[in-house]
């Protein structure tokens, strides 16, 4: 049957089509890495796009799986890269949302055992969620014999450059109690760095712990709905008037679809137009959820329309 029922057609748009789309949306959700910046390099035109959208009455949010910084550091990065008016309240990172989940949704009574970096620890601290103090140099104990904190009620795993066997063994012990929550900040198997390099992501550490504990983690980050629900709990969002813009089909676009948002792929990051087309042409039904409604070369393509 020619012409699918849904508009999820992987449609490359520019000019008037962009204008019509933006006119129909009140909220724009941006992924960060690969959309508005790549590492420490801003995507040309991105700061102007954000400013113009806000000037025209749109609400703008940033939804990132990157859990390596607390929100206040993100604000500094935005400033550094030329975004002049981004407020902390508009930034939703998987670190911030994991802390919010523990405090507001799980309402955890007790401590959290964290495998993570400063970004996550700071957000938990800011949210008032107690954390087990971890000594990165655990040379005083062996992997065969270590103390456990009896107040632990949840395990949270995310990107951790100090990940080691001891942390894996400890987390596995805590997870033997089925009442102990098991959360992961995000599922990304690797993270892109500038220059085409990659580094292992939270997803690879989570996979180790899932295998050890024979349990599945509740994943906070995209494509899970929770980050959207976190935004919606603080701001009034109508999914029909919201647009998700991202560069990773398996996280950003799937996230948008899971939350009932319109979705746009920008080609300044990880996924390619060809990959999107392959998902569109695939016979398998789950792959349809990786197909964006719209595609642009870069969000700078909005400038022409917004400056009119």
């Amino acid at each position: 049957m020619a012409g699918a029922v849904s508009s999820r057609g992987c449609l490359k748009i520019r000019g008037a089509q962009i204008r019509d789309l933006l006119d129909s949306k009140h909220n724009v959700l941006f992924d960060c890495d690969g959309v508005i910046w790549n590492g420490e390099t801003v995507v040309t035109g991105a700061p102007e796009v954000v400013t113009l959208l806000k000037q025209q009455g749109k609400r703008v949010f940033f939804v990132t799986n990157n859990c390596t910084r607390p929100r206040e550091n993100y604000v500094q990065k935005f400033c550094r890269l030329g975004f002049t008016d981004v407020a902390e309240e508009e930034i939703f990172s998987s670190a911030y949302c994991s802390a919010a989940y523990l405090r507001d949704v799980a309402k955890v009574q007790g401590k959290v055992y964290v495998i993570g970096c400063q970004g996550v620890l700071k957000e938990l601290q800011d949210a008032g969620v107690p954390v087990v103090e971890e000594d990165n140099d655990s040379s005083s104990f062996s992997i065969y014999d270590f103390p456990l904190d009896p107040d632990v009620r949840a395990v949270l795993v995310g990107y951790d450059e100090n990940f080691n066997f001891m942390k894996l063994a400890k987390a596995c012990c805590y997870l033997r109690n089925s009442e102990c929550l098991f959360l992961a900040t995000d599922p990304d198997p690797w993270h892109p760095l500038r220059g085409g390099r990659i580094t292992p992501g939270s997803g690879s550490l989570t996979a180790a712990l899932e295998t050890a504990s024979n349990r599945k983690a509740t994943v906070i980050g995209k494509p899970s709905r929770f980050m959207y629900e976190c935004i919606a709990s603080q701001f009034d969002l109508d999914p029909a008037r919201s647009l998700m813009i991202g560069d990773r089909l398996e996280t950003d676009i799937l996230f948008g679809i899971n939350c009932g948002l319109a979705t746009m792929l920008t080609l300044t990051g990880v996924s390619t137009f060809e990959e999107a087309q392959q998902y569109k042409d695939s016979d398998s039904p789950e792959k349809k959820d990786f197909v964006p409604d719209y595609v642009v070369e870069s969000i700078a393509d909005f400038l022409q329309v917004l400056e009119e």
């Binding site: 100090n162 080691n164 066997f165 596995c172 198997p189 292992p200 997803g203 050890a212």
Partner: protein, 306 residues
């Protein structure tokens, strides 16, 4: 044709089974020992089997010991066994890299000193064993200097596993010509004293996830370990018995290689587990149903002594 399976081994059936085989393969943990204690009766069983002229071999997924270390442990616990009769994954991975991967070059090793020693014995040079922590920035370690002679990544049990090692493995494996081998996928490693820690399977999974690649796995239930034994000792699968405590590694290996299989209940799996596989319609799961089971291999003693 319905084949009767998962039968309790008792009475005359025991002698019948033993007479029908020339060689017996034993898993170690949970079968002949638990931690650093022999299972009561196990040394007598092994020693009598050898006395009656059977070949007896030990096949373990545990990569933390060399064959020599296993031979020392066996001797200490009263088993008459030699180094050549032990097949652990430290030794078998080295053989795998040499004979299957036909490796010419170095290995980036996430594993134990035992694995390093077994690699050295077959003249494969490794880098990476021991502690390795991150330093510098994210960008520094993503751009860490790679040794151009590394042609394979091998992952085994490593108590020094760290983010930096995971990162290095990822960088090497970004080259599709670099081979990727794991010793085994067991999720838990049994320790002396009856405890357990996360197993090699967790470390292999971490690397597989980051690299978005599947490892070639050497250990049970992959048939390579049987092929190692059979190649050395001329074992006829039709006249060979596999004795183990895990349905998804030991018994499945036996089934995959056409061996007779005996489950002992002194370790991980239960009869209920076996019956669940048996009742499922799934053909793959039938491979995890043992021919026979005993509470302990000590039950073989009367038939051997008689």
């Amino acid at each position: 044709m319905a084949v009767s399976k998962c039968t309790r081994l008792s009475g005359p059936l025991i002698k019948q089974l033993l007479d029908s085989v020339d060689n017996v393969l034993f898993d170690c943990d949970g079968v002949i020992w638990r931690g650093d204690e022999a299972i009561s009766g196990a040394p007598e069983v092994i020693n009598l089997l050898k006395k009656t002229g059977k070949g007896v071999y030990f096949v373990t997924n545990n990569s933390t010991k060399t064959r020599k270390m296993y031979a020392d442990k066996l001797a200490k616990l009263g088993f008459n066994a030699t180094e050549e009769e032990v097949f652990g994954t430290a030794y078998c991975s080295a053989m795998y890299l040499k004979s299957v991967c036909k490796l010419e070059g170095k290995v980036y090793l996430i594993g134990s000193n035992a694995m390093r020693q077994e690699l050295e014995k077959v003249e494969i040079e490794q880098i990476g064993v021991g502690p390795d922590h991150v330093s510098g920035t994210q960008f520094d370690w993503a751009n860490v200097a790679l040794d151009p002679e590394v042609k394979a990544v091998l992952v085994g049990f490593d108590e020094h596993f760290s983010y930096m090692k995971l990162n290095k493995a990822l960088q090497y494996l970004s080259n599709s010509d670099c081979q990727f081998v794991g010793t085994n996928t067991d999720t838990r490693l049994p320790l002396e004293g009856g405890k357990a820690v996360p197993g090699t399977g967790c470390l292999v999974k971490a690397v597989e996830t980051a690299a978005q690649r599947q490892a070639q796995v050497v250990g049970k239930p992959n048939r390579f370990m049987f092929d190692c034994v059979a190649g050395k000792f001329n074992v006829d699968p039709n006249r060979c018995l596999m004795v183990g405590d895990r349905l998804d590694t030991d018994i499945l290996l036996g089934s995959n290689c056409g061996l007779k299989t005996l489950l002992t209940l002194t370790g991980v799996s239960t009869v209920a587990d076996a019956e669940t596989h048996q009742k499922s319609g799934c053909p793959v799961r039938q491979g995890m149903v043992p021919d026979y089971y005993v509470d302990s291999i000590a039950e073989l003693l009367p038939a051997l002594q008689g």
